[in-house]
């Protein structure tokens, strides 16, 4: 995009906008520009997600930065006429936000005493994800070349350790430490696996990252491979992510063609190959050991730990599994250093976090914010406030996440602050709900998801999830047993203690937090006269009439 054109139209083509016809709009724009004789001055560029997700086809104008949404075929002649011939904004479709400018990418915000800006998404919506040249044009693969020549694997691991980067998939395990475990294993071959089985309802940040900047993931994986001594990488991706798969495949082919992946990268003697494995849509396969079972061709069920994947993972070889977003942080950290990275976010949780924010808000979509911003800031600053009704609750981190009430809006979203309150940051979904939503119905919906996704291996999760669903269903119909809430609490607490894997263990998060903040509302579904069947028999002694 660094040519003498007057302006560029960035068309955000991702899984969402494709459904609204973004590919057609892109060709229509080109046709119209040709017709108007503007094709020399104005180019149309395909890019990944620009951000908003409820605005149909979204485009951005570079360098002015204004954004338009809900573009349809009929608007195109008018839009070109108004914007590029008359030279004024096309007000009808103008959005109330603009593209992040280059300057904004690294800006010091004195109010928050930290750097804001984008690390993971800096290329998303700016470059054509299907062009390796554009990725290289913004500095891509430079770091890989540099580390292969200048750094030892230990130095890389140390930098990642120093950066304080923690796994962005949900559990928040320190990434550098995880790498060091696999690095010190003797077994061979070793594997790097990119966990792209993003299954948490409402979370689709990994999809947009991969759709918008696939090469960044590949580069991160290659650096990881070099650091831990692996020559093979797999991307385990859910089958529904068709566009991601297509773009990743092209990215791998292009990188191999240029010698940036494959044998003897940059003449360093280091080989690194990446393959894509497509998952069949099971939530639990996002859990790393279940992911490995699935990759090996077995039923997608978690395995016993220990041994951990670092010691015995894919095909029983040392394996490092990282989330997409985690891997997207690698190249920037290595390029700019751990100190730079630590300028973002908080002391204990450095960096940024990518969220998909949805619900009753004005601007649902993809955002990248520093670790530690409050829920209130996200809702009102980044998401444009409530679209309808009053804020009632938010579920952070997907269905396995905590449900927070209004009084928790000033909670800081980072690992440490949430941990102190027994909450979790989770995967990056933020579901904002207004006062029209019943917490009981919402919990029933959450439990339905668990029932659907429990793998069925351990008795606790297999039966417990179903029983919790039944409980909330009763409450919804005002038919809860007199001790329903006590039972729900006991069951959720024990499922956390005894379930085989994090899926069953995590059910306590939504259930216990909902009970904590919305007990009164939930208790409205209790019928205090309703006792259990088995107790009924005991207390139902007939009184005999002896007369």
């Amino acid at each position: 995009m660094l040519n003498k054109n007057m302006a560029h139209i960035l068309v955000g083509i991702d899984g969402n906008t494709i459904l609204s016809g973004s590919r057609k709009i892109k060709t229509d724009l080109i046709t119209e520009l040709n017709k108007q004789g503007l094709s020399e001055q104005i180019s149309v560029i395909e890019t990944g997600s620009i951000g908003p997700i409820n605005q149909g086809v979204v485009i951005g104008i570079y360098p002015t930065g204004e954004m338009y949404g809900n573009l349809v075929e009929e608007d195109i002649p008018g839009f070109i006429q108004e914007r590029f011939i008359k030279g004024r904004p096309y007000k009808k479709l103008l959005l109330n936000e603009s593209l992040p400018s280059d300057l904004e990418l690294e800006k010091y915000d004195s109010r928050k005493h930290q750097y804001i800006g984008r690390i993971v998404l800096d290329n998303c919506g700016r470059i054509n994800p299907e062009s390796i040249e554009e990725y290289i044009g913004v500095g891509g693969y430079e770091v890989l070349g540099k580390v292969l020549k200048e750094n030892t694997p230990d130095e890389i691991i140390q930098t990642i350790k120093d950066s304080g980067l923690r796994g962005r998939g949900g559990a928040g395990f320190p990434t550098g430490l995880k790498w060091s475990f696999t690095a010190q294993e003797k077994g061979s071959p070793k594997y790097v696996i990119c966990n792209a089985d993003e299954g948490e309802p409402g979370t689709f940040k990994d999809r947009l990252i991969m759709e918008g900047d696939p090469h960044k993931i590949l580069e991160g994986m290659a650096i990881c491979g070099y650091a831990i001594g692996a020559n093979f990488g797999y991307i385990y991706i859910r089958g529904e992510y068709k566009l991601c798969i297509q773009r990743l495949k092209k990215a791998i082919e292009d990188a191999e063609e240029l010698g940036l992946l494959g044998k003897n990268i940059f003449n360093s003697g280091f080989d690194f190959q990446i393959e894509i494995k497509i998952g069949a849509g099971s939530y639990v396969c996002g859990e790393e050991t279940a992911l490995l079972s699935s990759m090996e061709g077995f039923r997608g069920e978690p395995k016993l730990k220990p041994p951990y994947p670092a010691e015995s993972g894919f095909l029983s070889k040392p394996t490092n599994v990282n989330n997409v977003e985690t891997l997207a942080n690698i190249a920037p950290i290595i390029l700019k250093g751990s100190d730079w990275f630590k300028k973002h976010g908080t002391k204990d949780s450095p960096g940024t976090k990518v969220y998909t924010i949805l619900g009753h808000i004005n601007r649902p979509g993809l955002i990248e914010v520093p670790m530690g911003v409050t829920l209130r800031e996200i809702v009102y600053d980044y998401a444009g406030g409530m679209s309808t009704g009053q804020f009632k609750m938010a579920q952070i981190g997907g269905t396995a996440g905590d449900v927070l009430s209004e009084k928790m809006m000033d909670i800081h979203l980072d690992y440490k602050s949430l941990q102190e309150l027994d909450h979790n940051l989770g995967s990056g979904a933020l579901l904002i709900m207004n006062d029209s939503v019943s917490v009981t119905s919402f919990m029933k919906w959450c439990m339905k998801f668990y029932v659907h996704e429990s793998c069925g291996r351990c008795s606790a999760c297999r039966i417990g999830t179903r029983q919790l669903y039944e409980s909330f269903k009763r409450l919804e119909q005002n038919e809860g047993y007199y001790d329903e809430l006590t039972n729900i609490k006991e069951l959720a607490k024990n499922l956390h203690l005894v379930s085989f894997c994090p899926l069953g263990q995590s059910i306590s998060s939504p259930v216990l937090s909902a009970l904590k903040y919305f007990e009164e509302e939930l208790s409205e579904g209790v019928d205090i006269k309703k006792i259990h069947q088995s107790s009924e028999k005991k207390s139902n002694n007939k009184t005999y009439n002896y007369s």
């Binding site: 069925g456 008795s459 297999r462 006991e490 024990n494 203690l497 005894v498 107790s535």
Partner: protein, 593 residues
Amino acid sequence: MVNFTLNNMAVSVPEGTTILKAARQNGINIPTLCYLEDVQEPGSCRVCVVEVEGAKTLQPSCVTKVTEGMKVRTNSKKVRDARKMVLELILSDHPWECNTCDRNGDCELQKLAEEHGIREVRFTSVKERLPLDESTPGIIRDPNKCILCRRCVTVCQEVQGVGTLAPRARGFDTVIAPGQGDMLSDAVCVQCGQCAAVCPVGAISEKDDIDKVWEAIDDPDKFVVVQTAPAIRAALGECFGLEPGTLIKGKMTAALRMLGFDKVFDTNFAADLTILEEGTELLTRLKKALVEKDKNIALPMFTSCSPGWINYMEYFYPELIPNISTCKSPQQMFGVVAKTYFAEKVGKKKEDIVVVSIMPCTAKKYECNRDEMNDSGVKDVDYVLTTRELGKFIKQAGIDFVNLPDEEMDAPLGISTGAADIFANTGGVMEAALRTAYEIVTGREIPFNKLHITPIQGLDGVKEASLKIDGTKKEWSFLEGATVNVAVAHGLGNAKKIIEKILSGEKQYHFIEIMACPGGCIGGGGQPRMTTDEIRKARIQAIYKEDEGREYRKSHENPALKVLYEEFLGKPLGERSHHLLHTKYFNKKDEDA
């Protein structure tokens, strides 16, 4: 050694010991449901969880290894509450039909509910009723009672290498199902019954044929004879609380007589008969292959007494059909002899004779229903009861088994040798065959202490021996100086290993014994539950003891057998033998493909 604290008790155990084993060794029981020693430790029932200081969640003790300084509590409030919750969850997903269940009084879940004082289940059952699977002759499955412990899956897939049973669907809807179908008959099942032998509840059992046997006994027009397999005498006592490995042949004989059987006979008689036929078959094959250079003779020869193995071979390795001994199993040899020779002898019509078998095996129920097993003109064996069914049968009749006197079996089909006893365990058929074959060839006893071919004894999965033959008799001189290589495998997973080695040319043998079940028939799918390696060893030891106490220990010495050949059969592999005692096999692989 690793030192740790178990409920405030300082305990030291060898490195690598699990918390469960360490606790049990130190007098603390931790309940389990899915755990099966030596077979599976999946950590999935969550009943065995314990509190480990420092761990965020409770840990499954069956898979968690003790580490130095670990502090474990097996019955803290946290553990008790969680365990009770898990049991209540499992019970809420289980039909409360204890009184009418096959496993009433012998159910691991029932026992845990009792031990943990479950008086109320806080959860309402939402389970949907699934159809019973009565589609095969040997096994009955009730998916409603299944608690998804997956012992059957592990046994079927990993121990037996058959892979019929697998979990299907997920979450609450998960069921253990045969392949992609609902019924066992939709899938390849060899009927070995090892799944039934490990089921902790009443979800998989043998098909109950007790009533049919009662009916036959009650019918005054029927002459009902019973045969008992060699493995029963070392296991039936367990149904009455006796130690594993208690020999109860005499009491069993008395009980069968009290039950009303007209004759109490022994499958051992037919086992001796099998040795004469099969030993002769082996020697004939060797002669044809070595002397006549007949290229159509298939070697190695495999034994054929285990119907689970025959099924497995027909489904998975039909190319081995020419290698399998054509001898019927002892059960079927007995049936056909009873309905021909014996019927003639007692002046009964074969239609009026009912042959009941007591077998350690579920596949025998299948075998007696094979189309080829009607050589007497009617069904050669009418009913098969497992060891477990016989135990129930005796209880139903109100017989005080433990205090019964010892009685002797009836002549002539109750007369047998020690060689027949050892058919009960892995290596036994081979040993019995070699005891006879060696003597036929050399005129001398086999050169092993007490006639025991020790290299092929014991519980190793695959065992081998080589026997050098010297000083042959004149007619067997072609074997002079030859080394006969034999192998023994038990459990179909081990059978597969040895077959693959033979097919790849890595190994060459002359004679191979295969038994479908781990340990052989003493570990059969119809034996008292649960069969662990400890129990297998105890039963095997008892069987060898029985063998050593015998007057005759070689099949060819069986006096009743000599009479049978003189009066009826002629000679081994003779025309009548060929017609009555030998069979053929079918390629079921292509049929199912």
